[in-house]
């Protein structure tokens, strides 16, 4: 992202400080960090996830901590190896979706007029067409694999970001600094990438986090349907095989419970990180918190939130 350059000097340290100040964001970051570490280093620590290591559908034991699958593979090994691919696709799609959304949304908001009308129509149509069925239809025609999943999820997921970023760009367009840049003769491309996008850094980061949550959930859903590469080891295909091997009807909870828990923990971690960011970067929540702190310091109790900002923003 070219816009990140403007904030890099103070940016990273400031973000890190902000995460550490907020308890929610810290918890989210720790949770996410754990899974990233597992995804990066875990596959070297566990054995081959495809290897047939024991009797099928064995409950958790000292030898196989999370039991064995319907084919007699180690569930823990599959879980750990699956983490890498699932997280990688999640983050790649999360970033791609926001990039496409930013490109379309900011272009629409910046140029306005007919360009805006056309692009807005485009993302509104994509918003109203149900994503998962469309993703299924596209994925079915393409060779199955991680690249297909990433492509399909990007195509069906960018519209929401475009809508939010268009609104943001529309309000930035009215600001004096954009007018100054136009008068100074800067090109449209430069104004969008160097002037407008950097002002949205916190929003973009929040959107990447949110889109990653979406991408992981949707990816697991598509693979559960059998639209991923069913011979690969990912969280979604683990669940696909658990369902196919009738894990439920044989009572083999260990074949599906850990995977879903991991999906949820990653999603929850991302959401916590995001709501933490929101409280840091949203001036309204910040003021409210300062006010509550002020009252508490004087022994009062804040009863109802004071309307810091009225309807007119």
């Amino acid at each position: 992202m070219s816009g990140a350059g403007a904030v890099r000097t103070t940016g990273l340290a400031a973000w890190w400080g902000a995460i550490r100040r907020d308890r929610k964001a810290t918890a989210g970051a720790v949770l996410l960090g754990f899974f990233v570490l597992v995804g990066v280093f875990g596959p070297w620590l566990v054995g081959d996830p495809h290897a047939l290591v024991g009797i099928p559908l064995q409950p958790p034991s000292a030898e196989h901590w999370l039991g064995t699958t319907g084919q007699g593979q180690d569930v823990l090994a599959q879980l750990v190896v699956g983490t890498r691919v699932s997280l990688a696709i999640g983050f790649i799609v999360g970033i791609a979706v926001v990039l496409v959304g930013a490109l379309v949304g900011v272009t629409a908001g910046y140029f306005g007029g007919r360009v805006d009308g056309l692009l807005s129509l485009l993302f509104n149509v994509f918003l109203v067409i149900p994503g998962l069925p469309l993703a299924i239809v596209i994925a079915a025609y393409l060779p199955s694999g991680p690249a297909t999943l990433a492509l399909v999820l990007t195509v069906t997921g960018w519209a929401w970001n475009a809508r939010v970023l268009r609104a943001q760009a529309l309000s930035q367009r009215q600001r004096d600094y954009v007018a100054a840049a136009v008068v100074a003769g800067e090109s449209d491309f430069r104004i969008i990438t160097r002037e407008i996008l950097p002002t949205m850094t916190s929003l973009l980061v929040a959107q990447i986090i949110g889109s990653t949550t979406y991408a992981i959930g949707a990816q697991v859903g598509l693979e559960f349907l059998g639209l991923g590469d069913v011979s690969a080891v990912t969280w979604g295909t683990n669940l696909y095989w658990a369902q196919n091997d009738s894990a439920l009807l044989t009572g083999a909870w260990w074949t599906f419970a850990p995977t879903g828990l991991c999906v949820a923990l990653v999603g929850f971690g991302l959401t916590m990180l995001n709501s933490g960011f929101d409280e840091i970067t949203n001036p309204r929540l910040q003021l409210e918190r300062a006010w509550r702190g002020y009252l508490a310091a004087r022994g009062h109790k804040a009863t109802r939130s004071t309307p810091v900002v009225g309807d007119r923003g």
Binding site: I129, V137, L142, L225
Partner: protein
């Protein structure tokens, strides 16, 4: 009226885009679409029948625009081609058998989740920092982080398999024939309880947070302060002044979320072997039944568009500002 006409035009446009995507997909994909589409038929049909089938799909040597017109004509007449998985049943008939179950499942899940979540959100905003406001949002956001279908698997395992409180799948018991009798309706409700409950659990948090956040802003606005200052009863301020106005973004979101819930419903149905569109979809994916897949995509898209139109009508009723500009 102009508002409704504009929305109607937008939905027609969206429907046309969906139809066009449907038409272009097999033709844009790598390889010869006709071969890919009909590879599954080989051995079951003679060459003449294949040729006839090609023409029904509009996959002929004719120029693209004439193929396009042919295929559009077929769709408009409700002809979605022939299913491979359920050969030789027409796709439209196959979809028709499962549609009512999907609509029942997704529809009741959306309505229950919306009603309960919005009410809880209003409660959380009104009694700010009460226990509803403190605990429920985090708990429900955590529940919402699970994939629907995984919640469904756990629910089925615990309440169906473990405790035996609910049936393990299907829409109604095998020994009953569909009829408008009390016994049958009760049986359907018992079978739908778990799938609907898991979908509601997965989506409740979103509605709660959306309502809570808007209502907190609305509660700080001047007209609510005025209503309080006038000495109106608290219930009236909460419901007629604050909640009604805070409802608007949630109602708009309702239309947007329908597609998402329907998608989740497809996956939930698979876990419960529920005979809706999701089950058909799995059959279609397994048998590479492209016509059925595309048919399901079209039908679901049209359902979502129709539901969005209803949501617009609700907005018209809720928001006098739209009504004034509309007339």
């Amino acid at each position: 009226m102009t508002f409704l006409l504009r929305r109607l035009g937008f939905y027609l446009l969206s429907a046309w885009v969906a139809l066009t995507i449907n038409f272009l997909l097999p033709r844009l994909m790598p390889g010869d679409p006709a071969t890919a589409l009909f590879a599954r038929f080989r051995g079951r049909l003679g060459p003449e029948a294949l040729q006839a089938l090609r023409e029904t799909f509009g996959l002929t040597e004719a120029p693209l625009w004439s193929q396009y017109l042919t295929s559009m004509g077929h769709v408009l007449r409700g002809d979605l081609g022939i299913s491979v998985a359920y050969f030789p049943a027409p796709v439209a008939d196959v979809i028709g058998t499962g549609l009512v179950w999907t609509v029942l499942l997704a529809g009741s899940a959306v309505l229950i989740s919306f009603a309960v979540g919005t009410a809880l959100g209003a409660v959380a905003a009104w009694w700010r920092r009460g226990w509803v406001d403190t605990w429920l949002p985090s708990a429900l956001v955590f529940a919402g982080a699970f994939p629907y279908f995984w919640l469904a698997m756990v629910a089925l395992y615990v309440f169906g398999f473990g405790l035996g409180w609910f049936p393990l799948g299907h829409a109604y018991s095998d020994d009953l024939t569909p009829a408008w009798s009390l016994a049958f309706v009760a049986d359907v409700a018992r079978h739908a309880a778990l799938p609907v409950a898991t979908m509601v659990l997965g989506t409740l948090g979103g509605w709660l947070l959306s309502m809570r956040n808007t209502m907190i802003t609305v509660l700080g606005s001047d007209y609510v302060n005025l209503a309080r200052a006038k000495g109106l009863p608290a219930g009236q301020v909460a419901l007629r002044y604050a909640a009604r106005n805070a409802l608007l973004p949630s109602v708009t979101g309702l239309g947007m979320s329908l597609g998402y819930v329907l998608g989740g419903s497809l996956l939930t149905e698979i876990v419960f072997s529920y005979p809706g569109q999701g089950y058909l979809l799995v059959q279609a994916v397994r048998n590479q039944d492209y016509a059925l897949m595309q048919g399901i995509f079209l039908v679901i898209t049209l359902a979502v568009l129709g539901a969005n139109l209803l949501v617009d009508l609700a907005c018209l009723w809720l928001d006098p500002r739209i009504r004034e500009t509309a007339t």
